[in-house]
């Protein structure tokens, strides 16, 4: 039998094009059929619960009791923004649970894709802070739709050594002409538009009016030439702040915590107009294939252990009051949190859920502004 010796053929200068492509074909067929052989590690186990969540939440530390009971973490699927997530699920993507935020709660309920959560099946439910459970639109006669999981703020992370503050911290920092081309922002309208509303002085209850759209558009157009990058991921902004490429950026508080951990001189601003605050949580899909495991998973996420990880490592608040017991007040204030979420959430501006038409109009307008029109 002739053995095809490609290496020697190359050395002797004998490798013909035909022989080469034949070897490529063999390699391709080999690669394609390899998955048919029994494998030990499966990429996605259909018996485990699947959660559709933001990037950064796909790590085992948030699901300690689930892993204890099942040995493996749940399956993860990642999205970059709630709009993208909802579109995907409406297109037929079925998961067990998803992780939207309170601003989208009304729209997600209206989509008809979710079922109320049976809170009696969650052992940690008693410790969940009632202010978070009772956010607008969450509890109605059909039950509780979203199990609150994390909360935090969106504000400006800025380099204390590079950014010269003129007076108090304020949202004007991101509109500062002195630092044109060195400012950054998260690209999703779901955060940026609301920050624009705070800067424009539009009260959130009026955000659906045409006047609000005009004023916020004007403010965002003013900001656009100053922005170096509208990023979809926090890592890019964090690295830019660390290297000095940007001096200030609109981010979530986890970015400031991460940079401070790396000893970059940054501060998470407390603007005088108020931060933007958000609460996100878990919603259960109507056709969840593994409902029992999904409840185990939600319970794991609400546990104090997961909460301690969230607060300590990410700097976001957790919905379970007991998770805060581990931390002293000083640490919490340093992270921009408090044992009493009402303090923070009340001092900031809480996003008010809007309907789908507003959301689409806002996204269209914001994308036009980002494009320069």
């Amino acid at each position: 039998m002739d053995v095809v010796d490609n290496l020697n053929a190359v050395r002797n200068g004998e490798l013909s094009r035909r022989a080469f492509t034949r070897s490529l074909l063999a390699a391709g067929v080999g690669l394609m059929t390899a998955p048919l052989l029994p494998r030990r590690a499966m990429a996605s186990n259909p018996d485990e619960a699947t959660i559709f969540t933001w990037g950064g939440y796909d790590i085992a530390d948030f699901y300690p009791s689930y892993i204890e009971k099942n040995g493996v973490p749940p399956n993860f699927s990642i999205f970059g923004g709630t709009e993208e997530a909802l579109t995907k699920m409406r297109g037929g993507f079925v998961v067990d649970a998803a992780h939207p935020c309170n601003a989208g709660l009304k729209r997600w309920k209206q989509s008809g894709l979710f079922q109320p959560i049976d809170t009696s099946r969650l052992s940690n439910w008693g410790d969940v802070m009632p202010e978070l459970v009772n956010m607008a639109e969450n509890v109605d006669d059909q039950g509780t739709w979203m199990a609150p999981f994390d909360w935090g703020g969106t504000s400006i992370t800025y380099r204390t050594d590079l950014f010269e503050l003129e007076g108090e911290e304020s949202w004007d920092m991101l509109w500062d002409q002195r630092y044109a081309g060195r400012l950054g922002s998260l690209g999703s309208g779901g955060d940026a538009w609301w920050c624009g509303a705070i800067k424009a002085g539009v009260p959130f209850k009026d955000i659906a009016t045409d006047d609000a759209f005009e004023r916020i558009s004007a403010v965002m157009r003013e900001q656009r030439p100053l922005i170096r990058l509208y990023s979809d991921d926090t890592t890019t902004l964090e690295q830019a702040l660390a290297s000095g490429e940007m001096v200030a950026a609109m981010t979530w508080n986890s970015s400031a915590v991460a940079l401070q951990y790396d000893e970059v001189p940054v501060k998470f601003a407390k603007p005088k107009e108020g931060q933007l605050t958000w609460v996100c949580g878990i919603m259960l899909h109507k056709d969840a294939p593994n409902v029992d495991k999904a409840y185990e998973m939600i319970d794991a996420m609400l546990s104090p252990a997961a909460g301690q990880f969230m607060i300590g490592e990410y700097g976001y608040g957790h919905s379970n009051a007991r998770a805060f017991d581990e931390f002293d007040d000083e640490t919490l204030v340093g992270l921009g949190l408090s044992k009493n979420p009402a303090d923070i959430l009340g001092a900031g501006h809480f996003m008010i859920p809007q309907d789908q038409n507003w959301e689409s109009r806002m996204n269209e307008t914001f994308e036009m502004i980002k494009a320069g029109f």
Partner: protein, 308 residues
């Protein structure tokens, strides 16, 4: 002879086989189509039907979460009236035009070298030149982010050599970055067609020209270049068509000033949630690319005729 009865004609069954088989016996075309049918089936299901759905969807309009399926030209009207769409189309053609020219100009010498100046192990050279493209497209774009970044290879190198005081900011998050990244990412698609076309040129023509007194430059311009034009044309199409619709590269390295029509279409299907508009933009893009392609073919055919 009389006792030999003419046997009756064979029964109808064997004389005239069933419908399909008779058609096959009679018609070569039908046999051809039957042979092609698996591939045709895949093409119809995989390409024709989705494209028809796309065209149909472009005539619908958005209605909250659903589609309003009454046929209307609203989307096309909007695409013509609202200036953002034409601006994006223009920008996309501009960026991909420059990319195509840059890539073809940079890759032609590489293909020429391997075709004419490499005599042994040509296959190895081709493998080595196209090896970077065996990696993921996305990783190549990310690696350009590393090279062009604020603390990237170029900036650190220039700072270290003392040639600049502060890192160059225009390298990343600009249209320049998009063009550089696209030119590199699609280079393999330029090298291979041009190499094939150059390889096929009859060397005896060049010998004849040399004998008749042409210097190297004249030989190149009068023989090699015109004969390699088919390769250049395929390379141009292979690069221009995909890069016009590219959206990953502008999204990752382009910054706020470079989104192309591909990004706009992706937004319509994602955050803006207006699928009919996205479909209409896709159809418009397809028609424009076809038009540009036809013009280009026409121009080069004219010039080829005048040469040959």
């Amino acid at each position: 002879m009389a006792d030999v009865q003419m046997s009756s004609a064979p029964s109808a069954r064997s004389q005239r086989p069933s419908g399909l088989r008779s058609m096959l016996y009679k018609s070569e075309t039908a046999r051809g189509y039957l042979l092609l049918s698996p591939a045709l089936l895949v093409m119809v299901v995989g390409m024709l039907i989705p494209f028809t759905i796309l065209i149909a969807m472009s005539f619908w309009t958005r209605d909250g979460f659903d589609f309003d399926t009454t046929m209307s030209m609203t989307n096309y009207q909007t695409a013509m009236d609202v200036p953002i769409y034409n601006a994006f189309l223009a920008r996309s053609f501009w960026i991909s035009g420059i990319t195509t020219v840059a890539t073809v100009l940079l890759c032609y010498p590489m293909a020429y070298y391997v075709a004419f100046h490499v005599h042994r192990n040509k296959m190895l050279w081709i493998i080595l030149m196209t090896l970077p493209f065996w990696t993921s497209y996305l990783l190549r774009v990310f690696s350009w982010k590393v090279i062009l970044g604020y603390e990237g290879v170029i900036n650190s190198g220039l700072l270290g050599l003392g040639l600049i005081d502060a890192p160059l900011e225009f390298l990343l998050y600009s249209q320049t970055a998009v063009i550089i990244t696209l030119a590199h990412a699609w280079a393999a698609f330029a090298i291979l067609p041009m190499y094939v076309s150059l390889e096929k040129i009859d060397r005896s023509l060049l010998e004849a020209a040399a004998d008749l007194g042409d210097g190297p430059a004249r030989r190149f311009f009068r023989i090699t270049l015109p004969l390699s034009i088919p390769g250049v044309i395929s390379a141009t199409f292979l690069i221009f068509i995909p890069t016009t619709g590219d959206y990953i590269t502008p999204a990752l390295v382009g910054g706020p000033n470079s989104p192309m029509i591909g990004n706009l279409i992706q937004l319509q299907f994602g955050a803006v949630n207006n699928w009919p508009m996205g479909a209409a933009l896709s159809v418009i893009l397809t028609l424009w690319i076809a038009a540009v392609g036809l013009v280009f073919l026409f121009v080069t055919r004219k010039s080829q005729e005048s040469v040959v």
